[in-house]
Symmetry: D2
Subunit: 296 residues, 4 copies
């Protein structure tokens, strides 16, 4: 199912109303926005999708709405959870709703190579043949996976069709993974901050969030077409804002504000507990934008 | 609601069938066992209750069954979760099912005194006047709460009626809490390993698990009756087994095995992922028991 | 001593020979390079100065050589250590060698506001009136200091004359510190990645490393002169490389390579254990540089 | 050098004068005390030896004094440090002073099996053929080593002659290590709390601290002589105090007080920062002792 996953797969935001309720209508407008700007599919309920603030029932409902708006595009659903029971139950439900795959980042109790293999033994005993994107994101998960351990994991579990690689420095790790692992798709996150180098070292596309998804898809397209200089130039032109959005959860607030301005969602609010932007933040953002020269 | 909480409140196990399904009938026999051996109430779905292996729906069902078997005794339900949404939803449901209070251990993202206050601001904005037991258990949660921070928390939130104190060395911390905090009930955990000293320094009773709850209630009763020597002697007579059960999740497997032997539950199995006992473990346990001289 | 600390204070590299020995001659050439490009002083033996790879005796020798090459400029020496004994002994020795201040980041055992106050009680009982830069860098130290805790720390210890602020998002934290704390100098790190916003929110200058220190001093000078647009434009022109160097210890290898090319030090090697650059890394760097249009 | 290491090797305290200076004379009296009560050798400068409070020069001086007082008994010196440079330098010096081996616990940056192998590659490149005791103590180090990783480490580095095993539950891990690893000595720590089970599963002796070392050596001797019941009974008779001392650094204060009472050292003080005992603590200890019936 994941064999041909290439190109931009946006890590989608979860939109909320100012009172904290999920804004399902904005899921439709967000979907349209992402697809209009080059997304071939979406990853919903990742870390930057505020997944940890939802109940399992809400998570399934959000995923189902994204599936409904996806046409024939691929929807991957983040199902990472501290316990396998919740992970398995949410996986069952979102796959029944029509998701194409789930994304799993091992939980922090996984601390050795042996733990890692055992954890996925347990997971796949529950979710069977569900296609899986393995997320390698130690900054958020505290789980560090070595390249030999990942190679062994891939050999053991054919269900893992893709890796979301965001262990820094990611370019180095991609080079090492490509040398050590069976063929597997590698998509990259970290807000796209290292996208040109990641693609040059063998990544298959970005799996990241940014308020200008057309930059992410554009860099991929240019690089794929052999225009390395053009890819770098496009990337660099957006870099001040890209970096500005890459500031943890506060950066997500910036991203939502930018997407609100672009008409992609109704409210920029994050569900609490979470940051909200004040006048200083907004004025700072305005000035930053005023010094950028965006293409088109 | 928690003003008069004193004496033994057992941290209850969650019983499973060998296939991993919840064994609801054993909740009834476990309840009877706990109450027969001196428990005035129970804390269900704590760390040693394998709470992290249940879905929210399962957690509510377990709590409801324990409530149904409680007569007029107090049932406290552990609702700690990485996200406030799940915590609030489970709290709402278990209180509707008849629980008396919830127990909350702050999640690992809480890292400063300011974070702590903010976290409970957020929590109580969702759960209102629900009576709360604050769990201070840094070995499991990674959250360390200083005495001044806890005093401030208690002053800010009258809903916190009791503390489950298990920050080591707990006796020292109890002395400091008693000197610094408004009146509050303090119950103690850590498998009861430090119970005599904790009671001598002002704790109101054990909130712990052990396969011989009569030791926990007995030590409390003797200490309350002024028989300090008797309390120590009773405690010491069980200490080899008490310590043997205090070995993390493997110790929980020992405890369940002991309670199975005592007829309190049908199967000693833990839900996976979790340890199971082999012949060496069982023979070791038998020999340990053979060198103990238990009262009665 | 630190009352007037403003402007660029470079976080200096520690140069090594290919065999791992300290390259003392390159300390002189590095010093000249930093001062020629706008540094008003240096911070030596910070995290990116590979301090953790030196013995205490080596650390003192490196600091002494930087002092000897400083003219009348300020030398601040990182002395953070897991134990207070080593911290105090190295402080004593580097101050005797002529350092102007020490920089201290609390160790990971500091986990509450109370711990923090106690830790610095212990530290200042040993180092007396030594001027101190407080480093707030949770990504490396695991210690998170809230704004109220920092305000109290500053009120308690007049010896703290400056803060190196690198808790992300740093701009937000600077705004909060300026509102809550007594007057104190705030310098900023994180490789300079957020320098324009940090200065706009009240920082007094960069305390960071970058292979083009003239960008860091230039942005400070332009911002101070009121040319906000010019500051942003200068910053943005270097951003692709700035971000490339901001990749942990591998980024330090890039930075040393760039400074070797610029004649600032003899060898780009890091002391082991540490990364070294291969042909792919170097070609990648060359291409990245080829797409930048640097001023002058 | 470590091939025949069996029996009690006490983890020695570091004695201080009330002003915090090292009390070298008490090193002699402590040594005599340990040897008189069955120690075949000592491990100095472990976690409970307050090693982290010493400068490297002090550490070498303490080790040298213990060597001078050792007669022909074995002295193992803890040299764990965040950086390899300090580890290698202290190793060089203590081996020159006559130590028999060093004990190394990998530092927290070691997070995968691959990291572990690389770390010891780096270490042994510096310390060559020095005999090493590998310390497996995740509660203090945060490094978890799986059994397969340890087996590989032992196969790679013949210099590792013994393991100090204190990953809980240690009895289970010893069974697994014995099944998976080449012949190696296994000594056990954790204050001796699990000693009978550890010996029954194949450990070669205790490497722990306790104020009654004769219990540790006695249990070993009885178990070795085939008197399993006697070993358990002796162990159980000391268990209340053993457990009382097993309360982190505060427990070390208890242990030092007990050894002061027994004439083994002049002052019970810990070097700051560290706990000191107040009247409540001392009265509590007295009562605890009054309920124990010690042999002889």
């Amino acid at each position: 199912m994941l064999r041909d996953i290439t190109g931009l797969h946006v890590v989608a935001q979860t939109p909320f109303h100012p009172d904290g309720a999920i804004d399902f209508d904005s899921i439709d407008s967000l979907s349209a926005f992402y697809y209009r700007h080059g997304a071939r599919g979406l990853t919903v309920l990742g870390f930057s999708g505020e997944a940890q603030k939802l109940t399992p029932d809400e998570a399934v409902a959000v995923a189902a709405r994204y599936v409904a708006a996806s046409g024939d595009r691929r929807i991957i659903v983040g199902v990472s959870a501290p316990g396998v029971a919740v992970l398995a139950e949410v996986t069952r439900q979102v796959m029944a709703e029509g998701a194409d795959a789930v994304m799993i980042c091992p939980p922090r109790q996984v601390r050795t190579d042996e733990d890692l293999l055992r954890y996925f033994d347990e997971v796949f005993a529950r979710i069977g043949d569900t296609p899986v994107v393995l997320q390698d994101f130690p900054a958020a998960s505290s789980v560090r996976m070595s390249v030999p351990a990942m190679a062994r994991l891939l050999d053991t579990f054919p269900q893992i069709g893709a890796i979301k690689e965001e262990d820094l420095p990611s370019p180095i790790k991609i080079t090492r993974l490509r040398a050590a692992c069976r063929p597997v798709r590698i998509l990259t996150g970290n807000n796209g901050l290292y996208l040109p180098q990641e693609l040059e070292r063998g990544a298959d596309g970005p799996m990241a969030g940014f308020s200008f998804p057309e930059m992410l898809s554009g860099v991929y397209d240019l690089m794929t077409a052999g225009d390395r200089a053009g890819a770098h130039d496009l990337f660099n032109s957006y870099l001040p804002l890209l970096k500005h959005e890459a500031q943890g959860e506060w950066g997500i607030a910036i991203r939502k504000e930018m997407m609100r301005r672009r008409g992609a969602l109704a409210s920029a609010v994050l569900r609490g507990p979470g940051p909200s932007l004040d006048e200083t933040d907004l004025a700072e953002l305005d000035f930053l934008l005023s010094r950028m020269e965006l293409p088109g």
